[in-house]
């Protein structure tokens, strides 16, 4: 299996590749290394925490979409994200997906996310290829996708800060005003009826 995988990658990064993409071979070597038997021992480790966070940062995928990527419920993904263990096959899929995504990185999460869901003439999106564990085809397909916007929005720090909600620690100290007693007396005023 490892050999086939390496061969396909060679095709993807060959100079004559029509996809015209730049692939980081180191990222693929990393993916290849994860096919070792040692990966099977990853159960009960929490290495996946970092990888999951990086995959989310790279792709901006929702928890539902991450669940779809692994064929599990969002609840299972939440468990992983909170430090629960991941099975070895899922961990392998995570590491391979991450290294593939790194290879196809377009520089920022919005651009990556847009590209993930651009369908080809057959209605297949790169994300579908990743779900099916077709990692090399995924990288190739991502190379042909052009996101609508490639640069992230960068607001000034002060503007970003102004847009943040009021912090929970301030909200919990909020004081509700009592009903005010108005220093006034009842008296007649002129009322115009329409």
């Amino acid at each position: 299996m490892g050999f086939i995988f390496v061969s396909l990658i060679s095709a993807a990064v060959s100079p004559g590749s029509s996809a015209g993409i730049i692939v980081d071979p180191a990222a693929f070597r990393f993916a290849e290394s994860k096919t070792d038997a040692g990966l099977a021992e990853s159960r009960n480790t929490k290495k996946h925490l970092h990888s999951l966070a990086v995959l989310r940062q790279l792709t901006g995928l929702t928890w539902d979409q991450i669940g779809k990527l692994f064929g599990v419920s969002r609840r299972a993904v939440h468990f992983w994200a909170n430090g629960k263990t991941m099975t070895a096959p899922h961990h392998e899929h995570l590491e391979r997906s991450l290294s593939s995504m790194k290879a196809a990185d377009k520089g920022n999460a919005p651009a990556n996310r847009q590209s993930l869901f651009v369908t080809d003439k057959n209605g297949v999106a790169p994300f579908d290829l990743l779900v099916q564990k077709h990692y090399v085809e995924f990288v190739t397909a991502m190379g042909t996708c052009k996101p609508q916007k490639s640069t992230p929005i960068r607001l000034a720090t002060i503007v970003s800060k102004e847009r943040l909600p009021i912090e929970p620690t301030i909200l919990v100290d909020a004081i509700e005003e009592p009903v005010q007693s108005i220093d006034a007396t009842a008296r007649r005023v002129r009322v115009h009826r329409i």
Partner: protein
């Protein structure tokens, strides 16, 4: 501005009640809440303006208002030297002609001040009305946050590093069984650990505060930041109501 007569909307019920008897009181002035774009349109198209009375408060209350701790009042920098704040509990609508000849003081000078004022109004009006059952359900968590956020402890640090807490209800708040997801949104650049304890540890701990409830089944907690939370997840969730926990009464 100057002293203005404030007429409440409540009709007075006294022995010799007449339809035209109302309670009237004087206030220091009013703040116009109507946005400029509506204010400048002709009276034929937009005849009314929304006002809130200005009231004078003590210095310590003014400082509370500036520090966002008094959601019932709005800080108006232009009249802060007179210790005046807008009382958002007594908002009213009048015809534009009523205020046309009043003296005007500019209450908000800069864009920052305008934006801060908008946030105060939004905070007062946009709070999601959670079901009563949920309000009871989440009280232990709210209580814990209130008790611990000021402490010099691992948990206190973690709470102070939160930007927001949001909650999503699936399939809907009206369902017989509601799956809740709590999003503990970290501030950008917040640390990974607090005196040796991770975010995951505190997330678990906070979720354990919630009681077992047959209506809200399997509540989940998740540590996120604004970069990892999708727009859909943000839209599908509401900010947890952490106010109304204390009263000066």
């Amino acid at each position: 501005m100057g002293d203005r007569e404030f007429i409440t909307l409540a009709r007075v019920m006294i022995d010799d009640v007449e339809e035209d008897d109302w309670v009237a009181s004087k206030v220091a002035g009013f703040v116009i809440l109507t946005q400029t774009c509506d204010l400048v349109r002709t009276c034929a198209l937009r005849p009314f303006v929304e006002l809130a009375p200005l009231i004078q408060v003590k210095q310590e209350i003014l400082e509370d208002v500036i520090g966002w701790r008094r959601p019932g009042y709005a800080f108006i920098p232009g009249v802060a030297d007179k210790k005046l704040v807008a009382d958002l509990d007594r908002v009213m609508t009048v015809q534009k002609v009523v205020i046309a000849d009043w003296d005007r003081i500019r209450g908000l000078q800069s864009d920052d001040e305008v934006r801060a004022f908008q946030r105060v109004l939004a905070r007062k009006r946009q709070r999601f009305a959670f079901p009563d059952e949920f309000t009871e359900f989440v009280k232990p968590l709210q209580k814990r946050i209130k008790e611990k956020h000021g402490k010099e402890s691992s948990e206190g640090e973690a709470l102070r590093a939160l930007a927001e807490i949001r909650v999503a209800a699936a399939p809907s708040w009206n369902s017989d069984h509601v799956d809740l997801t709590f999003y503990f949104v970290r501030q950008e650049g917040s640390p990974e650990k607090f005196i040796g304890h991770t975010w995951a540890k505190w997330c678990d701990d906070w979720m354990k505060r919630l009681p077992i409830c047959k209506h809200f089944t399997n509540p989940e907690g998740l540590i996120v930041d604004y970069h990892s939370m999708s727009a859909a997840e943000y839209l599908q969730s509401d900010a947890l109501d952490l106010e109304r926990l204390s009263s000066s009464e």
